[in-house]
């Protein structure tokens, strides 16, 4: 049942990410819904499963842009591991901290992606980071808080005590 829900959620998120998200961008910044999904799925899960989920989601995301095949897989694997290993134990169970977690995760994801796309050129990385990444991270955090909030309102125990879907 967990696997089925995970696949269903992934399908919905990927459809939204590819068809809908670019319509709601603000000043060129758009939320990373795949990252939100990753946080929802791996929070309070074992790191092993978190890495597998992160790698799978990232790889699926990479299929949309084969030039950087492996970039999102790398970022999401590391983030999945990080969220599962460290965030689960240290972050209090509140919307604000989940938002902060997503903000930091989005920044980390962008730093990895920017370094790869800009071939580790510090000037380009910093420029893009301040131009887009900060705003995108805020946007992702807000989207994440909303998603966690909506999942918390759903009947049954869709959301685990500390978040995990």
């Amino acid at each position: 049942m967990y696997l089925f829900r995970m696949i269903a959620a992934a399908v919905i998120v990927f459809i939204m990410q590819t068809t809908f998200v670019h319509r709601i961008n603000i000043l060129g910044a758009a939320p990373d819904l795949v990252l939100v999904l990753l946080a929802v799925l791996v929070l309070d899960r074992k790191p092993l499963l978190a890495v597998i989920i992160g790698f799978s989601l990232g790889f699926l995301q990479d299929l949309g842009n084969a030039s950087y095949l492996g970039m999102n897989a790398l970022a999401k694997s590391l983030l999945g591991y990080g969220i599962s290993r460290f965030a689960s134990g240290y972050f209090p169970d509140s919307a604000l901290f989940r938002g902060l977690l997503l903000f930091l995760a989005a920044l980390a994801s962008d730093i990895i992606a920017l370094n790869i796309t800009a071939s580790f050129n510090p000037g380009d990385v910093l420029l893009s980071f301040f131009r887009y990444s900060l705003l995108s991270a805020v946007y992702t955090a807000v989207a994440g808080i909303l998603v966690f909030g909506v999942l918390g309102l759903l009947p049954g125990r869709v959301v685990r005590p500390r978040g995990g879907y």
């Binding site: 092993l48 597998i52 790698f55 084969a66 095949l69 492996g70 970039m71 897989a73 694997s77 290993r85």
Partner: protein
């Protein structure tokens, strides 16, 4: 090997993370073409169910559209049928008044090609119907588009059909538009030649040729071919006319043997059509 199993046992999460990172880096360092091809292959595999679902709905839409068009065609054909049956009755009355033989309609015996000849100049096929099914030598054989040949030899359960592209087959043809009569014979490949057409005769490129029915060898009115090219002979007495066959003679599979004509009975025809419509509903 032992180190790997040790790592997986003792530190499964870190080992899997390391594997994932290495796999990602390997993918990142792959060549552009390979990455694109792999991504396309994996995407098409993953999206196969989505594609199947999408194509199902597309085909349903297409079938709906086709159904709507066919309904329109059916309505117009029903009107046309009604009109033609009136014309036909009128025509039969007039023919009776003039003392002509009554019109007949053809009965078609469906059959399948079971063998082909290997001779380059004497093309023929063998079909799975023979004397037991009422087939007789000399009967015309048609395909979906028009005349294909005639029955040459009949066996109890099979028959040999001489095709139009057999050098020994001559077909008396009529230009559907100008009613000029000529004799059709195979030349080469898909090309036929229409002989005995005078230089003054009205024959044009694109005209359709139908069987003339002269000599009662083949029934009248079956489409045979289309005129491809018309040019004058060196003597300027006759014309050289190239024709292409209506039917694809090299890819025949299902054929119909014209097993004979019957008195035209419009009531019977309408009943038959009515039965077909009832079955469809």
């Amino acid at each position: 090997m032992q180190i790997i199993s040790f790592l997986f046992e003792k530190h499964p999460d870190k080992t899997v993370l390391a594997v994932a990172v290495m796999a990602s880096l390997l993918m990142l360092n792959g060549d552009e073409r390979g990455k694109n091809e792999s991504a396309r292959a994996i995407s098409s595999f993953l999206l196969y169910p989505v594609e199947r679902t999408r194509s199902y709905f597309v085909s349903v839409d297409r079938l709906r559209e086709e159904n709507r068009t066919l309904r329109e065609v059916a309505v117009s054909l029903a009107h046309e049928r009604e009109r033609l049956s009136q014309f036909m009755e009128e025509r039969n009355r007039l023919r009776q008044l003039l003392g002509f033989r009554m019109d007949s309609f053809f009965q078609f015996l469906p059959c399948e090609v079971i063998a082909r000849s290997s001779n380059r100049f004497h093309h023929s096929v063998t079909v799975d119907r023979g004397a037991d099914a009422g087939v007789r030598a000399g009967m015309a054989v048609v395909g979906y588009r028009g005349l294909v040949g005639r029955v040459a030899q009949v066996f109890p359960t099979s028959s040999r059909i001489l095709l139009l592209n057999n050098k020994s087959v001559y077909v008396s043809c009529l230009d559907k538009r100008s009613r000029v009569v000529g004799m059709l014979n195979w030349e080469r490949g898909d090309l036929f030649r229409l002989d005995y057409i005078g230089s003054e005769e009205d024959v044009q490129q694109g005209d359709t040729l139908i069987t003339s029915g002269l000599g009662r060898v083949l029934p009248k009115g079956f489409p045979v071919g289309t005129i491809l090219e018309v040019s004058d002979d060196r003597t300027e007495l006759s014309r050289i006319i190239s024709v292409v066959s209506m039917s694809e003679l090299n890819t025949l599979e299902e054929l119909f043997i014209v097993v004979g004509g019957r008195e035209w009975n419009s009531r019977e025809m309408l009943d038959r059509l009515g039965n077909i419509e009832e079955k469809q509903e």
